[in-house]
Amino acid sequence: MPLIPRVSCVLCLSLGLAACGQQEQVASDATDTSPAAITAPAAPESSSPQAIPFAIFPSQVRELAAPEVLARGETIYEGLCRACHGADMRGGDQGGPNLLRSQIVLNDQHGELIGEIIQNGRSTPGMPEMPPLQVSVQDSVAVAEYIHSVWARQSGQGGPPPGETVELNIVVGDAAAGEIFFNAQCSSCHSVAGDLADIAARIGNPENLQNSWVAGRRWGAPDPNADTSRREVRATVTLSNGQSVSGRLNRRDDFIVSLTTDAGQYRSFTLHENTDPRVTGVVIADPLQAHRDLLSVLTNEIMHDVTAYLMTLE
């Protein structure tokens, strides 16, 4: 039983990178290929927003007020605040700022700061003015609690709370232009009558389809029984004694290349000059190189055209 990862390192490194919620890249964590880490399977690719690790800000974990308080707060918000601050609290036509990122709202615990603004109004130099409003202290607390409850429904990383569904049309390209591009650039490896015949039906969602075809990655959870031979990265190592060894590439850096021969034998080679026999050449054949090369040449427009064309393949 070979102790070698089933997934080629080159592939998992290029595709297994997760987006990072914070400012920092995650290269050192997500792509660790230290001996201990390499045997772990590549993380399944996901295009959904990443959860922020250890994101425990007080405003994200605060307990919400009782339902009747929130209901009261909502009524007051709708009646007194909505016109200025917007139905979704992100600011309104009458000059009220976005409350979902307001430093005062974030700092407020139970209405002590928001209530003061409701009672006294606010006129920061350079901002439109908010007049004082006739609201009881109790009702101020209720509306503050309601604001916190809406805040808590924000989607990850500061996305808006779920509101009315907006139709987002991803299929905006010209399918005919996409077909021309496909025939010129893709048909050497793919066929709309063959492997991609039902791709739109298979994947369904055009965003997933676009991500899939640009990356050259089958959509969906990795299937351990799937035939991966088409995407197998092959390596051929030639040696100073005239021999050459080929097989599936396991790993390659500047110092070592390792592969598994078709007979199932694990082989690794040191790439410095003092070995005998010496490695005189390493040729890597990566079936997905064509997809990587595409990345630098694809414009948004061509990408959308090809997606529109592939969406016709049901």
């Binding site: 001996p35 690790p53 808006p160 987002l168 110092f255």
Partner: protein, 546 residues
């Protein structure tokens, strides 16, 4: 603290307890035996004057010790954890996460991870004390290291406290709050000591403004606070925002240490991205002073000059990267310069007295988000490459071509060393509301590949690559860089190796497969021997030349 000039006369190893810390005046010396501040010295060059390890003998570096940092809170035994913090004790310490610079002073290493500080014998890695901060929360993504002022050690916590410890015992001197956790600030920066100033930055991903603060290192009292985005009517830069509300919520965080020019007394640093991050529709304009290289006078907290490195960023590509001071020559004239390799894939050299642009050059060879460069040296963003509903294919990815990991500069070759990560992602706008989302919301991102990650040696005068090494493994690299007076360059390769290059031509001379390097390699000299220190996530590796 031993410095370069005194070294020859100082012998004997002070025992712990009697060791002196770092006098502020010591920090003015160039990087040599010790590592007393984030970048080793104020220039940010990470150019060590140690000469024991050379191109000829680097392959004989030997592992001296390795230690996996112990984050357990210990109440008995040899090491009793000193505990502090404002948290309720429910926040459990995760394993160590070594993504910063560690200080080496008087034979003692000071190492940080979010909520943790350790003092260790730099000779063999023996733990001397451990401090643990009970956190109230915040994003625990990393800690970039401690600072030392006399006998006090400082570090920032994810829940935004600046903590002062006694360097001998780890006992706490004081702590002060530096930003409200309620507003979702979180703090990672290594504080920087300049004389009697302690410069402190914070981070935030939810539309609160960025600022740099200076504290009194003796008492923790605030000396000044400089906001990087306009806060009041009439503030400079306000005309690059649609209105005051947008500017006041405009981000521009200061989360990576900068450099200090003693001649002008300018602290020079880069600022973070504007917010909301991806929905730039809410903030038309250049959005000053986000994604900007700038100089602030350390004594007054006033801005002296700025050069914007990414006007109207819409990809979370802050320009917080540590810049490097270079005394160079342009067109035959000696010039005082500062250079930075920004996260957006552009390299900049500017005059560090005036901020005037000297060179702007794309080093991210796959970066595809711009429409060229303005006359003033700032790149022009391509609106087509903002998040759009049908998806924009953009390089680099959110992590950038470079990130916080420090670059290095070798003055002997005039070469600026930086990694180049060339990931591609498709960025979808999911919130087309003209008011924009908050924070990093309103988009969805799919990483679709990476093409030709490399390591670059750039000519500081032009930003042209003098040599470039493409990594065969193709992995993005999260390591910083170190260079030496013997012409070596140390970094990680993204395939689990700590590597040494010949800094002049890019030949690989040595490697050790200890795992992916998670900080910038460092070097120091003890008992006449040169050490090389690198971190792999939770473990330190110290190599030595016998």
């Amino acid at each position: 603290m031993k410095n370069l000039l005194l070294l020859s006369v100082l012998v004997g190893i002070p025992a712990i307890g009697s060791a002196q810390g770092v006098e502020p005046a010591d920090l003015y010396f160039p990087l040599a035996e010790e590592w007393p501040t984030y970048s080793g010295d104020y220039t940010g060059q990470r150019y060590s004057r140690l000469t024991q390890v050379t191109k000829d003998n680097v392959q004989h570096l030997t592992l001296a010790w390795t230690v996996r940092m112990n984050t357990n809170v210990r109440t008995q035994g040899n090491i009793v954890t000193v505990q502090g913090g404002e948290g309720d004790g429910n926040y459990l310490p995760p394993g160590a996460n070594l993504k910063g610079s560690f200080l080496m002073v008087n034979g003692i290493l000071y190492v940080t991870s979010p909520d943790h500080v350790w003092a260790m014998d730099a000779r063999d890695g023996t733990e001397l004390w451990h401090y643990f901060w009970h956190s109230r929360g915040g994003i625990h993504i990393g800690n970039r290291g401690p600072a030392i002022w006399n006998d006090a050690l400082f570090f920032e916590t994810p829940d935004n406290y600046l903590v002062s410890l006694d360097i001998h015992t780890g006992e706490e001197n004081w702590h002060v709050q530096i930003a409200p956790l309620e507003q979702q600030y979180f703090s990672t920066m290594a504080p920087i000591v300049v004389d009697d100033h302690l410069l402190v930055g914070t981070g935030n991903d939810l539309d609160s403004p960025g600022f740099l603060q200076s504290f009194d290192p003796a008492t923790g009292e605030l000396q000044w606070k400089f906001f990087t985005v306009p806060q009041n009517p009439g503030d400079p830069g306000l005309d690059t925002w649609p209105n005051l509300d947008a500017a006041r919520n405009g981000g521009g965080q200061v989360w990576v240490p900068g450099v200090f020019d003693p001649e002008t007394r300018y602290y020079i640093f880069g600022t973070g991205n504007p917010t909301p991050g991806y929905t730039g529709v809410a903030r038309p304009g250049d959005n000053l002073f986000t994604c900007t290289l700038m100089a602030v006078n350390v004594d007054t907290g006033e801005m002296a000059w700025y050069h914007q490195t990414s006007p109207h960023d819409t990809h979370d590509w802050d320009s917080a990267q540590t810049p490097i001071l270079i005394d160079g020559e342009i067109d035959g004239q000696p010039r005082k310069l500062v250079s930075t390799a920004a996260r957006n894939g552009y390299f900049f050299t500017v005059d560090r007295i005036t901020g005037e642009s000297v060179a702007t050059k794309k080093y991210g060879t796959k970066s595809n988000w711009d429409l060229g460069v303005r006359e003033d040296g700032s790149p022009i963003p391509n609106p087509q490459k903002e998040a759009i509903i049908p998806g924009a294919l953009v390089s680099p990815i959110e992590g950038g071509v470079a990130n916080w990991q420090p670059p290095a500069f070798n003055p002997d070759f005039g070469l600026f060393y930086t990694h180049e990560n060339n990931g591609f992602n498709i960025v979808y706008l999911t919130d087309p509301d003209p008011r924009g989302s908050m924070g990093l919301g309103g988009k969805r991102v799919a990483i679709v590949g990476t093409d030709g990650n490399a390591f670059n040696a750039l000519d500081y005068r032009t930003g042209e690559a003098v040599w470039r090494h493409e990594w065969p493994g193709g992995a993005p690299v999260g390591a910083g860089v170190l260079t030496t007076a013997t012409g070596l360059v140390f970094t990680g390769d993204g395939s689990g190796n700590l590597v040494a290059f010949d800094g002049e031509n890019g030949d690989l001379l040595w490697h050790s497969r200890i795992g992916n390097i998670s900080n910038g390699p460092q070097t120091y000299l003890i008992d006449g021997r040169q050490y090389l220190l690198a971190a792999v996530r939770d473990t330190l590796f110290a190599f030595v030349m016998y």
